[in-house]
Assembly symmetry: C2
Homo-oligomer: 268 residues x 2
């Protein structure tokens, strides 16, 4: 089913916006800006902005963070028309994630369209973010992405764990935008995408055009293998920001992932 049709199935407004944006902008590429200097993140976002639908941030690794950073980032998101996903991996009890989402100096709830959660703590983690969303004054569509799978070696988000995640996504469909799926293993990923609702987006990190691992047990797959296995949006980090030309590399990934999506929708 094409993104435009799935947008209509989405119960979460941020998921709907992202589906529509992917279709309109003809890109299903998310770039992970895992850089530790604010200026570098902003420069990367400005360079690759035209080619992405989503920018994934780790605001807590930026050494010179100030509230001005998120202000600038939000402006770039408007300029190039992409959404922002803070990869915070909330994983605490409800009352704590509520505070982590809405308070502190990052005030994630005021600028991130999407955040993700681990479901280890149970459904309280989702309810806590929902409450945090209600408590932040900013009114824009926001969504929760559930880490239903991971791609690192020996990860525990498998079997029943994944099934529980899909169940929670169904129950909290108003706030849940989609899932993080295993980008490194197409067979595992298919287990998730085969049970994902049409209104939910499956994001897959761990993607590189040349596939290999790092020394800290992260594993990689290609854009095509992920999209053919049912991923909707690929997340690429080092493959792009460590490239000599991030712009050229982003275009390559965009083309690969969008091409694979077009083929998939055609039923190839």
């Amino acid at each position: 089913m094409p993104y435009v049709k799935r947008a209509k199935q989405a119960k979460n407004p941020a998921a709907r916006s992202l589906f529509e944006l992917m279709a309109r902008k003809q890109t299903n590429l998310c770039v992970a800006a895992d850089l530790t200097v604010a200026e570098n993140v902003l420069a990367l976002a400005d360079t690759i902005g035209p080619d992405i639908v989503l920018l994934k941030t780790h605001v807590d690794i930026i050494e010179d963070f100030t509230p001005d950073f998120t202000e600038q980032l939000t402006k770039l998101a408007e300029k190039h028309n992409f959404m922002i996903f803070e990869d915070r991996k909330f994983a605490d009890i409800g009352n704590t994630v509520r505070l982590q989402y809405s308070k502190g100096i990052y005030k994630i709830g005021e600028w991130a369209d999407f955040v993700n959660v681990h479901i280890v703590p149970g459904s309280g983690v989702i309810k806590g973010i929902e409450q945090g969303m209600e408590e932040t004054e900013f009114e824009f569509p926001r969504g929760i992405i559930i880490l239903s799978q991971m791609s690192s070696k020996g990860n525990m988000a498998t079997g029943d764990y994944m099934a529980t995640a899909v169940g929670l996504a169904h129950v909290y469909k108003k706030s849940v935008a989609g899932h993080i799926g295993n980008g490194s293993n197409a067979e595992e990923l298919k287990k998730l995408t085969s049970v994902t609702e049409a209104g939910h987006i499956v994001f897959t990190p761990g993607i590189q055009l040349g596939s290999h691992g790092d020394t800290l047990e992260q594993q990689y797959a290609t854009p095509q293998s992920a999209i053919y296995a049912g991923s909707d949006c690929i997340i690429v980090g080092r493959g792009i920001y460590e490239a000599e030309s991030a712009e050229k590399e982003a275009k390559k990934y965009r083309q690969a992932a969008w091409g694979a999506y077009v083929q998939r929708v055609k039923g190839k």
Copy 2:
């Protein structure tokens, strides 16, 4: 086995320090300072400092955080002789947690004696923190606490998950100081404490003298039930900082938990 003897079994230097400190200071009380204003956290730490062995922080919920806060906090830890545990619940792939631990504006690795991790990502999360520890210039004993159980409703840290956590603690015994155990369910907690190595410390949150829950699915138990089930260090939050007199309340919890420990060691 008393804390002094277990200190000798500890392979992680921070665990050894904490065991010794508990024995010397005659308190096994950790207070969770889940407050959102720096001054209030510091005031609480100064008030209850003499009664605790450990202060648990959520640095990312503090609205007016500056590096001065952690400097002040470290001074209070020296003044009152307690250690600091940043309850960050690291839960990402190795390379990311390495950056989250050592970089960013919080620079957790420079002031926290303990941090905790979720093992959902696999062993990479421990290796990433170990690498972050090597990369921070500060030289003091530091330890990793594994979230081997949780106490919130519907949490997934049960069964095989807990067994895997205990296995990882065994493999990474030089960096792992201990476990977070389920404070709300003595039977579940016993499953963990019965397989915990003598050199590892079991910490239990979710403790209140009068036991009840909150509206976000957190559940509570008493100091005695936790200690009798094998917990070594109880973590108390709202029960103390929301009390009319945090000082008096801390003394009550200290007495209850330490008394239970003395009874347990006597083999009562």
